[in-house]
Amino acid sequence: MKLFLNVEKARIPIKQFMTRGIMGIDKNETIKNACKKMIEFGISSLAVLENEKIVGFLTKKDIIDGIAKGFSVDEKIKKIMSKNLVFCDSSVPIEEVLNIMANFQVRHILIKEKGEFIGIFSLKDIIDLQKFNLETQISSD
C-alpha cells in the first residue's frame, strides 16, 4: 500500500489539508439536536458557541462518553463538551499537527490564523484517502 504521508508531504503546512470553515452550535442546544446536526452535515465534531464565539468543542466521542455516564439526550451540550480547545496555527507542518493530536489524544484540531479560528482538521480526512487506496487494491481483481 502506498503511504499517503511520505516524508516530503509531512513538511506541508496543515493549511493544505484542513477544511476551511467551522460548523458551530450554541452551547444551550440539546445533545439530541447536536447528533441530528452531525448527521445532517456529515461530520463528527462541532464547535460549541456562546454568542457566536467558540467556547468549547463537541465530538462524537464526547457524546458517547456522556451518554455512557448517564446524561440524557435532552440535556444541554455544554455539560458534556470539552472546554479545553486543541488548536494550532495554519502554518504548522502536518507531521507536527499529528504529534500534537496524538499528545492530546484528539481526532480533530481547530486551526487558527492571525488569531482567528479559520478551519478544522480531522484524522478522518486522511483515513478516507487511505481507505480508497486500500479499497482499490482490494477491488482490483
Binding site: 477544511t19 470553515g21 458551530g24 478516507d128 484517502l129
Partner: protein, 486 residues
Amino acid sequence: MKIAHISDTHFPHIIKESFDRTVEMINNSDVDFVIHTGDLVDRGYLREYEEAIKAFSMVKKPIIFVPGNHDGKNVGLKLFENLIGPLSGVKEGKDYVILYLNSVIPDMNEGRISNSSFLWLKEKLRKYIDKRIKIVSFHHHLVPVPNTGRERNVLFNSGDVIDILIKYGVNLVLSGHKHYPNIYQLEDLLIVNAGTMCSVKTRLGDKNSFNIIEIDDKIRVKTLRMDEIRERVYTRKKERIYNVESEKLFRIVQIAGTFIDETDIFNKKMFLNAFKKIEELNPDFIVHCGDIVNEGLIKNYALASKYFNLPIFFVPGPRDINYLGYNLFPKYFGLKERHITKKVAFKFLNSSQYDSDVGVVGRGQLNKIKQFSRNLSEFKIVVLHHNLLPIENTREKGLLEDAGDVLYELTRLKIDLVLTGHSSHPSARKIEDTLIVNANSLSCKKQRSLFGNSFNVIDVYKDFIYVSEIQSLSGSRHVLGIWKRK
C-alpha cells in the same frame, strides 16, 4: 505598499505617447516599485531588447521584469537573462514577498509552470508562509479573461497552480498576456490581469492601460486607461464559523460521468452503491452534468434508461452526443431548458459539440442566460458540462472555448451557483459572488481523484452553502467547503 503593474509593451511596436505618459505618471507617483508582467519585446530580437532597455532607463523606480511568450521567440529568453535579468526570483520586504516565475514554453503562445518551477514555487510559498502579503507573478493568465476570443492558452496546469496559491493563502496574482485588463476575486486570491501599457495590439479598440495596486489591510486595484480610471477595493472575507441552526432551503445531488456501457469502463458496483446512497440522502433535485453514457450508441442509451429511476435533470457531455447520441439524447433524456420555482431556478446549457471534446456555450445561449437571470427566484443555478475554471489535477483542455466571456457574464449576473461535470475531479471555488462546483465521475473507471469516484451534495441554507463530496463505493462523506451567502 504601492506597486505599478505594467505589461505587454511589445517593443518596438509601441505607441510612444502611451509609453511616455505612463512613465511620467509612474515617476511622479509614490509607487515603491514596478512589475512588468511580460512581452517586453515582440519577437525576441536583440534590437528590440536594446530599444526596450533604452526606453525603460527613463523609469526612476525599481522594476521587476517577468518573461512573456513574445520575449521567448527566436530563443529570446537567453537574451532576456543576459540583458534584462533572471527568469524567476524573489523580492522580499518586511511583511511581503513577491515570487515571480517563467511560464513560457519557447516558441509557443501557450504557457506552463514547469515541474521544477512548480516545486520551486511550492518551496518558496512554504518558506514565506508567515509573510502577511504574498504576491505571485507570471505572464500567462490564470483564469479565462473576457473579450479575448478562444480560450486556448491559459497555463496548461493552471488548475494545480490555482490550488496551491489558494491553499498557501497567496493574496495577489499579477499577470498579463491577454492585453485586456481584468480582475477576479477567486476565494481570497485576487487575480489581476494588466492590459497592454503601450502596444498597438489592444482588443475591442481598447485603450492602453496599467494598474496601480495599493496594499494595506485592503487591496485597492486602480486600472488607469489613457482616458479613464477604474478602482476596486477588496477585503478578505472574515466569516469562518457557520451556525448549524441556519434554515435549510434545499438539497441538490450533483453527479457526472456515469459512463454507462456494457464494457468494464462502467463500474456497475460504484453506480449502484452511489444511487443507494443518493436515495438515502433524499435530495430535492438531482442534476447530472453529462457523460451519461460511454458512447452515444443505441445500446448504451437503452441500458442507461434502465439505470435511472429517480427524477433527474440531464445536460449532455461530449460522450452523450457523439455517434448517434445527438439524436438519442433528446429522445431518451430530453434537454430541458430551465426549471423555475420561487426558491430556486435552474438554467440548463448544452456545451457539447458533435464529435468534439471542445466545449462552447455560444452567443445564443449566453443571451438566454441573460434573460434567465431576470427571473425572480431567490437562488439561480446554471448547469453545463464543461469547465469554466481550470480544475486541479487536470490539464486545461476541459475549459469551454468561450470560457472567458461565459465566466464574465455569469459572475456579472451574480448567478449563485454553477454546476459542471468535466475533467473527472471534484472542485468547488467561489469566484466573485458565484460558486462553481465540479463533479468527479460517479462510475467511470477513468477518474483522477485520490478520494475515488464520487458525487457531490450541495446543501443550500439561508446563510451558507455547504458542499460535500461522497465516495461512490463507500458512501463516505467529506466537506469540500462552506461559503457564506450574500
